[in-house]
């Protein structure tokens, strides 16, 4: 894929820039846009963003690496995030993590060879009342059970 934004995306970048008195502040929202479009933040993508915002590649790289949600490597189609922080731990979140890990045959921060799933053990996602919880890409699933997970994953494999 060519690393360029479309005409309308570039307009969006202009709109984002207008929200802040300084150009640099547009970096995080534009990195989000880039990640959504290109899947992850490769060196080429970061250089492209740096060019758009008149920033150095070093600065963009520094910011991208500070925040865990910017992907610095390619991710599976379904990014599975399992919370094991206190409230979820009390709700058997670790068991959920182990189950998924065994089911997919991968460990934390790994991707299945078919590129369908990436697994990540995450810190509290701010949904502690719904423990145990997982997120698949951008969607939260709260009060999950092994059965629900099995059903959901079967669906994901088919789609």
């Amino acid at each position: 894929m060519d690393i360029v934004f479309s005409e309308s995306e570039l307009e969006k970048v202009e709109e984002i820039k207008s929200r802040y008195p300084e150009l640099q502040a547009a970096l995080m929202p534009v990195l989000w846009m880039a990640q959504k479009k290109f899947g992850w933040l490769s060196k080429e993508v970061m250089m492209y963003v740096a060019g758009l915002l008149d920033l150095s590649y070093a600065h963009v790289y520094g910011v991208a690496t500070f925040y865990t949600m910017y992907f610095k490597k390619p991710m599976g189609k379904n990014h599975i995030q399992v919370c094991t922080n206190v409230s979820c731990m009390l709700g058997e979140g670790e068991m959920i993590f182990r189950h998924i890990s065994e089911k997919l045959g991968i460990n934390n921060n790994e991707t299945t060879p078919d590129g369908l799933f990436s697994l990540e053990e995450v810190e509290c996602m701010g949904a502690c009342g719904g423990a145990p919880m997982i997120a698949i890409n951008e969607d939260y699933y709260e009060n999950v059970s092994i059965m629900m997970i099995d059903d959901k994953f079967d669906l994901l494999k088919q789609s």
Partner: protein, 441 residues
């Protein structure tokens, strides 16, 4: 007494602008605009409102720190990072009452003469960012925000509101780190002083307030500061969004007046402990707050002034209940791991100390801990506390020290009495790499 519903009205579809308007929405900004800005701040002062982000700082007082009569642009940052484990209340506002938050921002900005507000929302909350953005778009369209305000309200005041999405860093909830994050930098906390009111976003006067704090403001305008101060506990008045999680039958977010009994929250409102088990520990306000032991919770009232004498705090109001079967060492280690993972690494005591704590706790968990490890842990906590740039250091030290102090027996039972090897940190070994400073003649 009936509990006043200040933040979560329970009215169906209240998140939609039409429904919000039907129930008197965006009237309070009109009321505020008819007053002098200083009087608006005065009303908030009178209400006794204290920040809901964790530190309980008096909101009205904070607002008075903003310089007056300056030409510099001023900013508001609304803190919706909500990353403290056990806290999940602000997202209720994004989902069920976004317009009250927006109206609160308008009033706040008017009171301080602020030209733009940035709502910082944690990156994981994609869905809630969208929900709030929708509400914001509707408010812009109706002319309640931005340039159109002049026409809508007939007053020479305009302000803009923007959403800034985080990208997964707990530390960005800390106000100075948050400002760096808005500016498009790595989220390192800054030294204080200078405080944000003097030198905040882009070096300009800035106020940082929590989402729940700001969402309360329209209700204060509505009922008057005096009346608001009559809700709940005298020295920490109002209602709080308590997020209850852990071993209770009905976890969730409940709006209750401050000063409510912890036992009432657990047994009445949350339907008691799962399986009718006994309670071993309760964290009263998010994972960084020292825990209460089960035998200590009788009669405890949930407001800052009642919790302080017990050595803990209301924090974010995130209550985590643990039943009698909970492995306290495992929980402590999990908490230590979190703070180690989230330390930004700027200060040595925090960066190294959080790592040591996690390592020592892991050792104890593995059955290789010694009695001296317990004192070592407490000593590490004491050396982190107060010696760092930001309060993450304290947030890491408090729970660990709290758990060890309160559950000393349990920790002692877990450390082996006879260890087969000496721990590297209790013996002296001459460092091979360092040269001797004693010179031979």
């Amino acid at each position: 007494m009936e509990t006043p519903k200040v933040l979560l009205s329970g009215i169906p579809d209240y998140h939609k602008i039409d429904v919000y308007l039907q129930h008197g929405g965006y009237k309070e900004i009109r009321k505020a605009l008819a007053m002098q800005p200083a009087d608006v701040t005065g009303e908030v002062k009178k209400s006794g409102l204290r920040g809901r982000g964790g530190a309980c700082f008096p909101t009205g007082l904070k607002w008075t720190f903003m310089p007056k009569g300056t030409d510099k642009p001023k900013y508001l940052v609304v803190n919706g990072d909500e990353s403290e484990p056990g806290s999940f209340k602000d997202r209720q506002i994004f989902e069920f009452n976004p317009h009250q938050l927006i109206e609160g921002i308008l009033i706040t900005n008017y009171a301080m003469g602020i030209e733009a507000a940035y709502i910082y929302i944690r990156g994981e909350y994609h869905r809630w960012v969208d929900l709030l953005q929708k509400a914001l778009d509707d408010a812009y369209e109706k002319g309640f925000v931005g340039e159109a305000m002049k026409k809508t309200f007939g007053k020479d005041f305009t302000t803009n509101i923007y959403i800034h999405k985080g990208a997964g860093a707990y530390i960005c909830g800390e106000e100075t780190s948050l400002m760096n994050s808005v500016e498009g930098r790595r989220g390192y906390p800054r030294f204080k002083p200078p405080f944000p009111a003097q030198n905040g976003l882009w070096g300009m006067p800035t106020t940082v307030n929590n989402v729940e704090t700001i969402a309360t403001v329209p209700q204060i305008m509505k009922m008057g500061g005096e009346a608001y101060s009559g809700i709940g506990a005298e020295r920490h008045p109002g209602t709080l969004l308590f997020g209850v999680s852990g071993h209770v039958n009905k976890p969730g977010v409940y709006e209750l007046p401050t000063g409510v009994l912890l036992t009432d929250i657990i047994y009445d409102i949350c339907g008691g402990v799962k399986g009718d088990k006994k309670i071993k520990a309760v964290i009263p306000g998010g994972s960084s707050m020292p825990p209460l032991r089960g035998d200590e919770i009788e009669g405890v009232r949930m407001d800052e002034e009642s919790l302080k004498p017990l050595g803990t705090h209301i924090g974010t109001g995130g209550i985590i209940v643990m039943d009698e079967d909970t492995d306290i060492i495992k929980i402590t280690k999990r908490i230590a791991h979190f703070y180690h993972h989230e330390s930004c690494g700027q200060c040595t005591p925090c960066r190294e100390g959080t790592g040591w704590m996690e390592k020592i706790l892991q050792r104890i968990l593995d059955g290789n801990g010694s009695m001296a490890d317990l004192d070592l842990l407490v000593s590490v906590c004491n050396n982190i506390e107060g010696n760092t740039i930001c309060a993450l250091g304290d947030a890491a030290a408090w729970p660990v020290r709290g758990f060890i102090t309160k559950f000393r027996d349990e920790f002692e039972a877990r450390v082996s009495k006879k260890r087969e090897f000496t721990a590297p940190n209790i013996v002296h070994g001459r460092r091979q790499a360092a040269g001797s400073l004693v010179f031979e003649r």
